[in-house]
């Protein structure tokens, strides 16, 4: 589905990505973990071409994405903290996004209903709290039935109930055979969802392993324990 | 016996009635006794009239040497064929009326004209159309002559190939009224002409000056309109010249002025309109001229007054929408600018006497800079030039400190 081939990126004198090589197979649910500043967000941004790598290339469904843009129609992205134009209402943001992807007719409004988002449609984005905006971001990520979901710290700022709703939604999509990449600090909530783990440190991929492999290696059940054991 | 008294009465009667009884009218035309005007003039007696019918007459140089009234009916054409002076008037009391005079000769040696008056008095030239002539109407040593309601039109391209519309030299007591002059070198030219009146004429699109005025004293010009002449109007080396209610309009060019005044003294300039000229009035060596109730609007420069001018009384004039109201070339100021209306004045009038409480300085710093370095014009109306002007208004350093209006009017003078 997505393969990054030896991508490197340097910001000034800081090497943020160093020869990163990952593979995301269809149906995989990958946890992208690592300490702050390890390059997780930059890697995600490289996949979305918000950051253009100095060397290496990103393949999406077998095709180099350099200079491409339509492939992003198949990605549902939920950014870390999203700011929207302050003067737009929630409804306007939604309709703008729908406008952008006009050709996508089959919309998934499950999250919208579960979050009761329609009730806040008339509210201006500028007046929303961080958690509310995260909900808008989540709804947008799932709305267009994407083949792959990229969620950057999805539960940060969400209340536990909303967090749970989101988790259930991810599982549901996973069951449909969709690929997911989740970057998160909160390892406990990833346990039931993921099939693979990519661990990054200092711009490098320390390992990419399936959950089974990790369990065999570490003989642990909890993801946090496995990671702790393998890093140590 | 007849008393001597009776003789006297008889003599008086005869002397009164005889000339009029004898004055005859001669007709000239295709089907008349005379086929051309020259024959008629030869037969006519002093005081006779000659009526000329419609037609084209090639008279070569027609000389009028006795007091006759020659009147055209239906605008007969006298054609100079580009070679001759069409009409030469060499007698007093001649009237020329109702002709179309065209195509005079062009000569660089002789000043050929459509109509030329030589050394005569009481000549009247009325209602004629003069086209394509070298000089239109030329007066030399004329006195008490009237030039009225003529249209003088030429199509001059170069100054050398073109004479003046109405050219007056060494004459006096002339009346020049209601004429229209265009396309000549100078519209009206005066040299050594005194005690004359120029009134209600329109002079436009002449190659050089609309009115050119030299060494001519005690003349008045009233209600004339001078528009779009090559260099506007020039009045030089004269005194006691009065100018009332004239309009000077759209005289555009570097050396073009509404009026160029040079070495003039003791006159009055009143009620004139100067509009859209590069310079409204340029004054050099002018003294004791009273300038009042004139309007200067939309000119590049309202007044360009050189330091050589003195004792000018400039008051109750309106200065509106000019790029620069006044500019000068020195710091010496011997003229009085008090009591004008300046639309650029932004002072106040606390005691409501319609006179501004702080003086106005009509010379802007930028006009001084421009005088020294004309290319700076390209920076005009930029923020930095406005800044410099404001600073200068507060602390005059380059602009003449004395050139100011102590009593600027708050409202325009009603005219």
């Amino acid at each position: 589905m997505i393969i990054t081939e030896h991508i490197s990126k340097r910001f000034g004198n800081q090497q943020v990505l160093n020869d990163v090589h990952i593979t995301c197979r269809p149906g995989a649910c990958i946890a992208l973990i690592g300490p702050n500043g390890s390059g997780k967000t930059t890697l995600i941004k490289s996949i979305l071409q918000m950051v253009i790598p100095d060397t290496g290339k990103v393949l999406f469904q077998g095709e180099d994405i350099a200079g491409q843009w339509s492939y992003r129609g198949k990605i549902g992205f939920m950014p870390q903290m999203t700011r929207y134009p302050e003067n737009m209402s929630v409804g306007e943001v939604m309709s703008m996004m729908i406008d952008i992807r006009k050709d996508q007719k089959d919309l998934d409004e499950e999250l919208i209903e579960q979050y009761h988002l329609k009730e806040i449609y008339p509210k201006r984005m500028g007046t929303l709290s961080g958690g509310m905006r995260q909900k808008v971001g989540a709804c947008l990520a799932f709305l267009f039935q994407p083949d792959i979901l990229i969620l950057d710290e999805p539960t940060a700022g969400l209340d536990p109930l909303s967090s749970e709703i989101l988790k259930q939604k991810i599982l549901k999509e996973k069951a449909k055979g969709k690929s997911t990449i989740i970057s998160s600090h909160v390892l406990s909530e990833l346990d039931e969802m993921i099939t693979e783990v990519i661990y990054m440190q200092d711009g490098q991929v320390l390992f990419q392993k399936t959950l089974e492999d990790l369990q065999q290696e570490t003989q642990e059940v909890k993801l946090s324990k496995m990671i702790a054991k393998i890093i140590a | 016996m007849i008393a001597p008294k009776t003789y006297l009465i008889l003599f008086l009667l005869i002397s009164i009635f005889l000339p009029s009884a004898q004055a005859s009218i001669w007709h000239v035309g295709k089907n008349e006794r005379f086929k051309n005007v020259a024959d008629a003039i030869q037969h006519a007696q002093v005081g006779d009239s000659i009526l000329v019918k419609k037609g084209v007459y090639h008279e070569h140089n027609l000389i009028i040497d006795k007091a006759l009234s020659i009147i055209g009916q239906g605008l007969p054409i006298l054609d100079g064929e580009g070679k001759y002076e069409v009409l030469s008037i060499k007698a007093s009391h001649v009237t020329i009326q109702g002709f179309h005079i065209r195509n005079s000769g062009i000569s660089s040696l002789k000043d050929l004209a459509g109509i030329k008056i030589y050394d005569s008095q009481h000549v009247q030239i009325i209602n004629n159309l003069i086209t394509n002539s070298f000089f239109g109407i030329y007066v030399q040593y004329g006195k008490h002559c009237t030039i009225k309601n003529n249209h003088i039109i030429a199509y001059g391209v170069e100054e050398q190939q073109s004479g003046n519309g109405i050219h007056c030299w060494n004459s006096s007591y002339l009346q020049i009224q209601n004429n229209l002059i265009t396309g000549h070198r100078d519209g009206i030219y005066f040299e050594f002409v005194t005690h004359s009146i120029i009134k209600n004429n329109r002079s436009f699109r002449n190659l050089r000056y609309g009115l050119h005025f030299m060494f001519s004293n005690n003349d008045t010009y009233i209600s004339n309109v001078f528009t779009n002449n090559g260099a506007g109007v020039a009045v030089m080396f004269s005194n006691h010249v009065n100018m009332f209610y004239n309009t000077f309009h759209q005289n555009w060019g570097d050396a073009s002025y509404g009026i160029l005044l040079k070495e003039i003294s003791d006159g009055i300039i009143q009620g004139n309109h100067f509009e859209k000229n590069t310079t409204g009035i340029y004054l050099e060596g002018v003294s004791r001229v009273k300038m009042t109730r004139n309007t200067f609007s939309n000119n590049g420069w309202g007044l360009k007054i050189q330091a050589s001018c003195q004792d000018m009384a400039i008051h109750h004039n309106n200065f509106m929408n000019n790029t620069f109201d006044v500019s000068t070339n020195g710091t010496l100021v011997l003229n009085n600018f008090n009591g004008n209306y300046w639309d650029k004045y932004d002072g106040y009038d606390l005691n409501r006497d319609h006179i501004g409480d702080v003086p106005f300085r009509p010379v802007s710093l930028f006009s001084i800079i421009l005088e020294k370095n004309p290319t700076t014009l390209i920076m005009f109306r930029s923020f930095i030039s406005a800044l410099m002007d404001k600073t200068e208004k507060l602390i005059p350093s380059l602009t003449p400190e004395q050139l100011k209006d102590q009593f600027p009017l708050i409202k325009p003078v009603q005219l």
């Binding site: 992003r72 306007e92 406008d99 | 509106m320 790029t323 014009l377 390209i378 109306r381 923020f383």
Partner: protein, 255 residues
């Protein structure tokens, strides 16, 4: 591209600063025209507003807007949209909103009080300066990483074009007063859109003064249809060049 620019316009038009700017322009233009006896003084005030205030507001507002929209731009980038289209939409959104603000606030008033070629010239120049300085702001915003630097850069650019450039030109004029540099000055004036707009308006406003010798040289250029065409062409280039530079930079920029 047309997918999002209408949303961007809808967003900017409702921006309080844009509304405030429109209102201030409206108040200023109405008061300068109704307080003065002659329209020429009002026109002079409007000239200063167009040459000074419009570029400043466009630069600062557009720069700040671009920074405040950086997350929004990221969001758009994650959508199936070309970078080209995003940047164009933002630019078109900004110039439409600011151009509309200028036209409603000042343009209509100018055309009502001065329905002449001069009035039209003022409005056209005001709009072109709005577009130019928005394009320059986009370039300033895309070139600098943080907001403070970006705003600083746009203030410096404004100072340069509005004041410093003219100071340098004036200095040059005095230094080379003895040389015939009029034609050269025409060329120099092309390097500053504010000067170019000012001269184009000057040609209409002070037509009598410009009939003098030096003025005639400028008039021969800026007053002819060919010269006006070249000047407007240059102003259009002043929109296109900064914008295209910013676009090229944006296409390669990491967000």
């Amino acid at each position: 591209m047309n997918k999002i620019y209408k949303h961007v316009i809808a967003d900017i038009i409702r921006n309080r600063i844009v509304l405030f700017y429109t209102l201030i322009l409206l108040l200023a233009s109405l008061s300068v025209f109704s307080l003065e006896d002659t329209s020429s003084k009002g026109l002079l005030s409007m000239l200063n507003i167009i040459l000074m205030i419009v570029p400043l507001v466009c630069l600062i507002f557009s720069t700040i807007y671009m920074y405040n929209s950086s997350e929004f731009i990221e969001l758009l980038l994650s959508q199936p949209l070309q970078r080209n289209a995003i940047w164009w939409s933002l630019f078109i959104g900004l110039i439409t909103a600011l151009g509309l603000a200028f036209f409603v606030g000042a343009g209509i008033v100018i055309l009502i009080f001065e329905p002449s070629f001069l009035g039209l010239m003022l409005v056209i120049c005001g709009l072109l300066l709005t577009f130019i300085f928005t394009a320059i702001a986009l370039l300033a915003a895309v070139l600098t990483k943080d907001k403070a630097k970006g705003i600083g850069l746009s203030i410096i650019l404004w100072l340069f074009y509005a004041i410093i450039f003219d100071g340098i030109v004036l200095f040059m004029l005095f230094q080379w007063a003895d040389y015939p540099i009029e034609k050269f000055m025409i060329l120099i004036s092309m390097l500053n859109p504010i000067d170019l707009a000012r001269i184009l308006i000057l040609m209409q406003m002070d037509v009598s003064a410009l009939m003098g010798y030096t003025g005639a040289i400028f008039k021969d250029f800026f007053g002819t249809s060919g010269g006006i065409a070249i000047s407007f062409g240059t102003l259009i280039l002043w929109i296109m060049i900064p914008f295209i530079c910013s676009l090229r930079y944006f296409k390669k920029k990491d967000l």
